[in-house]
């Protein structure tokens, strides 16, 4: 029977192979893409999920965008200018910019888009960045003027965000934002089956010129090892990868290429200074000194990443070695603990989200073993992502392993946590005069060099006060067949350069 059974197995396998050989290849001019996590919605002002942003940035365009060095470059706007007092920001729009319904992009659309973002009824994700806007004027169809209550340098960077995309005023009036995707970007959304696939076709009217491919077909393959398998067999040209364990396997395949880009998001151990004994500066500093950041990175993420201080954007980041206790010092940590009266240590609970990031559980475990050396006993509590988010937002934790999103501008990235009226004060639970002052100064200052000095001081102070223990930034991964040409990996994770990607035969 065993031999018969084997025969049956062989037959089934043969049938599977035979049938799959009949499968025809997709049109060569279409880029076949895969990702594990699908977009969750189409409203560019509300969606903040990574995949949603990656999809929407191919369809919609903001006024300005960031290039691979995080410099601000034209988007829908051709040029822009701050007034001398920093309270007026004027944009000249690209006359070639057109929505996918054929209408030109005008100042009225820009005004309507920002008014939608500012309207509390919308629930727009980026609203908090625009509170300094006093009024929006549209003197002619190609000019928009933002009147500001106070000088606000980071506002320009905030405008590069997909969450600040320009949508047609007519679609806002019709109430169809979120159900119909009409942008001015390189691709049109032809079809979307949530959690299954997206079909994008090239937008012939795109102001950025012709696209390199006829379209993009995105498949949702929830398991990343299946994505790798599909790439091996040439079914998929381009893929987004999350898991460093899978990504590091890509270079083993001769036909495939792995793209790595350091990202702005940071892995961090958040301490809760509202809870004892983390309210003691010495205890927080002890924890910071007891953590071997490189070891966390090496163990949890196979060394795929870079140890970082609070600021992750290359323009502003300091050398991590210059920051407080970035060289592990267990003796100093023990002394700090003793000074604070915790020579025998204490017990605390650390929360982490299951699978988000994929390294969360291992990070928590490495931290657990490192902190055990100074007597801090960690209980790890893994939670489903949504439960974690809810707990995190309430600030209901002793410590939290987190992967927090980064922004190209330090003020936009951190005002939510470290200004006194930041929206996420209840999460950071740490109000500090120096940090608040430095952030306010950085916001008002428009001179890039002076801003660098201000934020370098801010970063040093933050590392020293140790409300959180910043660990590392990882890479954003994309994998591609080697015949895919012209993709530029971005620190924001943006896939915008797919607009110019070509497929070589």
């Amino acid at each position: 029977m065993t031999s018969k059974f084997r025969g049956l197995l062989g037959l089934t396998t043969a049938a599977m192979l035979g049938v799959s050989a009949l499968v025809t290849q997709a049109d060569a001019a279409t880029l076949r893409m895969a990702w594990a996590q699908d977009a969750t919605g189409l409203d560019p002002h509300k969606q903040t999920a990574f995949s949603s942003l990656r999809l929407l940035e191919l369809i919609y365009e903001p006024l300005v965008r960031l290039d691979a060095d995080l410099k601000i470059v034209p988007g829908i706007a051709q040029s822009w200018e701050f007034s001398a007092d920093g309270k007026e920001l004027t944009f000249k729009l690209d006359p070639k910019a057109k929505f996918q319904n054929g209408d030109a992009v005008t100042s009225a659309d820009v005004k309507a888009s920002f008014e939608r973002i500012l309207d509390e009824q919308t629930g727009a994700a980026n609203r908090a960045n625009y509170l300094s806007i006093e009024g929006i004027e549209a003197p002619d169809a190609g000019t928009v003027v933002f009147k500001l209550k106070q000088p606000d340098a980071p506002i320009l960077t905030a405008m590069t965000d997909t969450n600040s995309s320009i949508v047609p005023a007519s679609e806002i009036a019709a109430g169809t934002i979120g159900t119909k995707a009409v942008g001015s970007g390189p691709f049109k959304l032809e079809r979307w089956d949530p959690n299954s696939k997206e079909v994008l076709v090239a937008n012939k009217d795109w102001a950025g010129g012709p696209t390199g491919v006829e379209g993009i077909e995105i498949s949702v393959l929830p398991d990343e090892s299946a994505i790798l398998a599909a790439m091996r067999t040439g079914q998929v040209d381009f893929a987004l990868l999350n898991d460093p364990l899978i990504a590091t396997l890509v270079p083993n395949e001769a036909k495939l290429q792995l793209n790595r880009a350091p990202v702005l998001a940071y892995h961090v151990l958040q301490l809760n200074p509202a809870r004892k004994p983390m309210n003691e500066l010495a205890v927080r500093q002890a924890i910071s000194c007891a953590v071997d950041r490189q070891a966390v990175l090496d163990t949890a993420s196979l060394g795929e990443g870079k140890v970082t201080g609070p600021l992750t954007m290359p323009v502003y980041a300091s050398d991590p070695d210059s920051l407080f206790c970035y060289k592990r010092d267990v003796e100093k940590a023990k002394k700090l603990m003793a000074d604070a009266g915790f020579a025998d240590g204490f017990t605390a609970t650390v929360i982490a989200a299951t699978g988000e990031p994929p390294t969360a559980a291992s990070e928590a475990q490495v931290l657990q073993s490192q902190l055990a050396e100074i007597g801090v006993k960690l209980d790890i509590k893994m939670m489903e992502l949504n439960v974690y988010v809810d707990t995190w937002l309430k600030g209901d934790f002793d410590m939290a392993v987190a992967l927090n999103g980064g922004r190209p501008d330090p003020y936009t990235m951190y005002n939510r946590y470290w200004t006194k009226n930041g929206n996420l004060q209840q999460v950071s639970n740490f109000a500090d005069d120096t940090l608040d002052t430095l952030l306010q100064q950085g916001r008002a200052e428009t001179d890039p060099d002076k801003r660098k000095v201000i934020f370098a001081d801010f970063e040093k102070q933050l590392a020293e006060k140790s409300p959180w223990v910043w660990l590392y930034t990882s890479y954003g991964y994309t994998a591609q067949q080697k015949n895919v040409q012209g993709f530029v990996p971005m620190p924001t994770g943006s896939l915008y350069s797919l607009g110019k990607v070509t497929l070589q035969q």
């Binding site: 029977m1 903040t48 919308t122 089956d193 498949s219 067999t233």
Partner: protein
């Protein structure tokens, strides 16, 4: 007939119970549609922003009001609107169901085609090396998780042979049967494998029982050929536990095979429910679970009816 009516009459009661449990359970879990959509960015919302999003998601009313609104909708076949798909819940479910049904049928077919003959074979060679071999294989099959089988299959095919059925872009059966089959065979085989093992074990032991029955001895004594004794006389009776097992398994499979659908990127019911839970798409979770419960009850009923056909000694009407 009475029996059938009594069984059917119990359906609404069970379904109401299920609906209440699901409704409450999914709302007891921390997090809501807003945190699911915005993640930690939800913390940046002003109270008024939050309120208007809650209205949009239909979660601004007290639970009891939400439930009543949803419950009364059921009578007009309205299961609500899925916020992720932007379509009526029933439409979304019915789009996914054919795949799940096909996967269930196909894997059952594979499991029974392997399991029953293997079980009978082992039973007729009781305690001999062949029997032992089958039992060991069955034990391994039963204890290997489907994600291991699935991933190994994918790995072997993609690395060893450099081919893989198209994943992601799923083709329905009626559009292109060959393409569809190429996409279904691996997942169906993965699911079938584990179940074939249980079928083998159950049919083996059932067969052993039956083979020692008097009527089998009588048949043998009358000189009926052994082949006929086994396949015609013994097997139908031995199938009763197999039918029970298959019915339960089939009912489960109609609820979707989450892991296998996940690995092979099949847009079936299981993955849909999982995603709906993760994204807190309340209407979709409620509708889908209700639908799955209904299917499960129908399958159970059919299994009970099948007993009577297989073994005339079983009477459903009671005394």
């Amino acid at each position: 007939m009475n029996y059938l009516i009594r069984r059917l009459a119990a359906f609404p009661l069970v379904l109401i119970g299920v609906s209440v449990v699901v409704f409450v359970a999914i709302r007891l879990v921390p997090g809501d549609s807003i945190t699911a959509m915005l993640g930690t960015e939800a913390g940046l919302l002003t109270p008024q922003q939050r309120q208007s999003l809650a209205t949009y998601f239909g979660i601004d009313q007290p639970w009891i009001v939400q439930y009543w609104r949803w419950f009364t909708g059921l009578f007009s076949g309205d299961l609500g609107i899925s916020v992720t798909y932007g379509k009526p819940v029933l439409t979304v479910i019915l789009e996914r169901f054919p795949l799940t049904l096909e996967l269930a049928l196909l894997s059952m077919l594979i499991a029974l085609a392997i399991g029953v003959p293997a079980g009978v074979y082992a039973a007729t060679r009781n305690e001999r090396p062949a029997d032992l071999g089958v039992r060991i294989v069955a034990m391994i099959g039963q204890s290997t998780p489907s994600f291991v089988v699935g991933l190994i299959l994918i790995y072997l095919l993609s690395v060893g042979f450099g081919v893989l059925p198209t994943m992601g872009a799923f083709t329905p059966l009626w559009q292109d049967p060959l393409q569809n089959l190429s996409q279904m065979i691996l997942p169906a085989f993965t699911l079938g494998c584990a179940f074939a093992a249980s079928v083998t074990r159950v049919s083996r032991s059932a067969m052993l029982d039956v083979l020692s029955d008097d009527y089998v001895r009588t048949a043998r004594a009358k000189g009926v050929p052994e082949r006929k004794v086994i396949w015609r006389h013994a097997l139908p009776n031995a199938l009763v536990p197999v039918v029970t097992l298959s019915g339960i398994e089939f009912g489960y499979l109609l609820g979707g095979a989450v892991i296998v659908e996940q690995i092979f990127a099949l847009p079936g019911l299981g993955r849909m429910v999982l995603e709906a839970i993760l994204q807190r798409d309340y209407a979709l979770v409620q509708g889908a679970v209700l639908f799955i419960a209904f299917n499960f009850m129908i399958v159970n009923l059919l299994v009970d009816l099948a007993y009577a056909v297989l073994d005339p000694r079983i009477r459903l009407e009671g005394r």
